[in-house]
């Protein structure tokens, strides 16, 4: 077995163990939360018989190890169970909401890159104390603004002033791109603010470090323009730390869109899981967490592989 295959197998093993631990943890945590499905769903003065019938209907009083093994066994085959509230397969319920979450995460990530990289670049290479000072302050503000505050502020603006954005009213991107962006952009901006801060910080630090490298000094001495230095040396060499942060941020966004989805009434996975948690819809929460964890693990693995593409030295080290 080659070095690279061993490396891949090692990562895969870690990924599977991670998923197994998460599966146990989420199953256990959901069952430990006070208030069962029957408690939450039925009226407070529901008769004990009605409560018992509902518990019996879904086998919620079966021994927990048996419930877990049954669920985990099915999950391995791709069957995440059936939602207690809707009676629909969890996988299809998640699938029908995934487009909203993925688009939000993509847009949020894009906004973070579009704002964070240029500003971080300017902050890293500028010699003007005023510019770098302003960028540092802006960076701190972005990092310290909670997404719930940004979202609430945007909802307030939309509900108070005539602006070309909507709260809710999501249309699929290819059905009505304008309506889609009117609903998606404020939500994406909500989740992007933190990402802008992260990307900006990382880019600024990486660029400043690379700008001090001897080969950059040599390029300057050769008379290369600032544009050439940025294109040929700075951008490529600073991309690895930026990509690392961005990947973690993107993976976080797959679960982190929840605030935006709730505030803007968007029908994504995050809001669905929040509702499911409130309803104690165990299969939905378990399935969603497992899928999000799998996506996180997958993105991490893809990023590891991308390191090698962006910086051949890393690929060589991994393979040796």
């Amino acid at each position: 077995m080659g070095q690279f295959a061993r490396f891949g197998l090692g990562r895969l093993t870690v990924a599977l163990v991670t998923l197994a631990v998460i599966a146990v943890a989420v199953f256990w945590a959901m069952r430990m939360v006070p208030g069962s499905y029957a408690d939450v769903m039925l009226p407070a003065n529901a008769r004990a018989e009605a409560r018992a019938a509902l518990i019996d209907q879904y086998g919620l009083d079966d021994p927990l190890p048996g419930q877990f093994l049954s669920w985990a066994g099915n999950a391995v085959t791709g069957d995440l169970g059936t939602s207690l509230t809707s009676g629909e397969p969890v996988l299809s319920e998640l699938g029908s909401r995934a487009l909203v979450t993925v688009e939000l995460a993509f847009l949020g990530g894009l906004l973070a890159l579009l704002v964070g990289v240029p500003l971080g670049l300017i902050g890293g290479i500028s010699r003007s104390r005023r510019t770098t000072g302003l960028i540092r302050v802006g960076n701190s503000v972005l990092l310290s603004l909670p997404d719930i505050l940004v979202g609430a502020l945007l909802v307030w603006v939309i509900s108070t002033y005539e602006v070309p954005f909507t709260v809710g009213g999501w249309e699929p991107l290819f059905d009505d791109p304008v309506a889609n962006l009117q609903a998606a952009l404020p939500a994406a901006l909500t989740i992007a603010v933190l990402g802008m801060g992260f990307v900006m910080t990382t880019t600024r630090g990486a660029v400043a470090q690379i700008a001090a490298e001897p080969y950059v000094q040599a390029a300057r001495a050769r008379g290369a323009t600032r544009g050439e230095i940025v294109r040929r040396h700075v951008l490529r060499n600073s991309s690895v730390p930026v990509l690392t942060v961005f990947a973690v941020y993107l993976a976080y966004l797959l679960g982190g869109t929840v605030i935006a989805e709730v505030l803007f009434s968007l029908d994504g996975i995050g809001r669905y899981v929040i509702d499911a948690t409130g309803h104690r819809d165990y299969p939905v929460v378990q399935g969603a967490v497992l899928v999000a964890a799998a996506a996180f693990v997958l993105i991490s693995m893809v990023v590891d592989l991308l390191y090698g593409v962006l910086d051949p030295r890393i690929g060589a080290r991994s393979a040796s």
């Binding site: 039925l42 008769r47 009605a50 509900s159 909507t166 809001r271 409130g278």
Partner: protein, 537 residues
Amino acid sequence: MLQDLFDTPARVSRRSVLRGMLVGSAAISGSGVLAACGKREESGTTASTVADAAIQRGGTITWGKQAEATLLDPTTGGVGSSMELFQIVYDPLIAVDGELELIPGLAQRWESTSETEYLFTLRDGVRFSNGRPLTADDVVGTFERYLDPRMASSLASFISTETRVAKVDARTVRFTLPAPSSTFLSAVASAFAVILPMREVAAGSIDLSKQLLGTGPFMVKSHKAGSGWVLVRNPHAWQEPIADELAIRIMPDDNARIAALRDGSIDLTYFDVPDAERLLADVPDTEVKVQDRTDFYALVLNATGRSSPFTDQRVRQAISYAIDREQIREIALAGTGLPTGAVSAAFGDVAPAPTLAHDPEKARALLAEAGESDLSFEIVYPGEAFGRIAQVLQQNLSAIGVTVELGSLEEGVWVDRVYTQRPPKFDATVSWYAAYVGPAQALNLWNVDISPFAFQVRDARTQSLIERAQQAPESEAEEALRAASEAIDVQASTIPLVTKNATIAWRTDLIKVEVDDKDGNIHPLRHSPEYALLKAA
């Protein structure tokens, strides 16, 4: 003696219903009002709506609904978010108007032949949305299902499971009660007493926990759990809607609904938060109506723990005397709601005022008598409005030297600690209860045999007074209600505070709607068949 109490589509009052319990009382309805509440087209309200040149037929009305209907079978679905939907897709035998008066629903008329027997005559020509005619068998089957003890239905809290339901002929059904009941007719008007398609249920062609098939103005076209519903005109509806579609968007966040109302992506919505009217003040082209509801907030004291100070009735009464309901109304509920006792104040004159009215001096004296010089406890609550009430209670109790800590709980945790665990794990909580459309219905909350909350105090005298109030003939009804209400107040374990209103808002430039002044069935869209889009200016 057969006596018509409720002739064809007559509008009758709650008092008349109570009077109807008496054999030999005067007939109430007059022929002059027979046509008032028949098919929608015949009613005055609808006629004026249709005649309005500004409205258009067809189109889609969009409702921003704050919570998903999670239980779809009316048998056990006695929760508000589901009841809202049931009453659009299904119909009960008896409906309720905007003054909480009983009016014909699927029953064209009903009459009492004795204190314990009622005959219902079904409206002619009613069909389910699949085209099948409604029959007396559907009504009999529906109530047999609801009153089957194994089903543990919501309705069985209000109508004895020993009630017998029998088909008399194709359009007539007889109910025989084991004992007189002043809550029977109002219970028949409940959202969880709607008539189900029992032939399809019996044949196994419909699963009521997943599908809705009724006689109401709209029927379900599609549903995405947690996201929304698309209801379309029921082509066989006896109350034919003006709009083609009613789209429901589930939008739990209040601010999101306000923003959606502003940008026109929803046409109407409603709010539980008391200050909604203020929040909506700046939204243009929007009308806001605060609807009086019979529901009420209550302070629940857990009197069951051995070490609980609330095992001493004097302490509970002291807490009750310390409460300033007017202050709760003004500060916590933005001036909405009515201070109430055990019979919801929304029922008007028939509701007695709270017996232990605000009197801090008496409160202090009772605490001193009970030897409680340093009382402190925690009030837990499940949401913002409850928290505001708890804060006012904290101030009220501070004025008599009682220290209160407040604790906000996630709703499921709160339900578990208050209603599920035995013994319950809380000192006190702010909760709310539905009082429906009959003044004696909510008394069930204090009937420990029907609502076996573990925190309740069992008191034989109160129990017997509640039962008497729920069986009393009309001549004794008001006095029986007063006596039961007073006994409940004096027990002071679940202390009613203020009625819980709803704020309904709609875009006046987009749709024409009618909203009732009062509601007891959590039915904000009672007039949905009459909702119409306005023609573009």
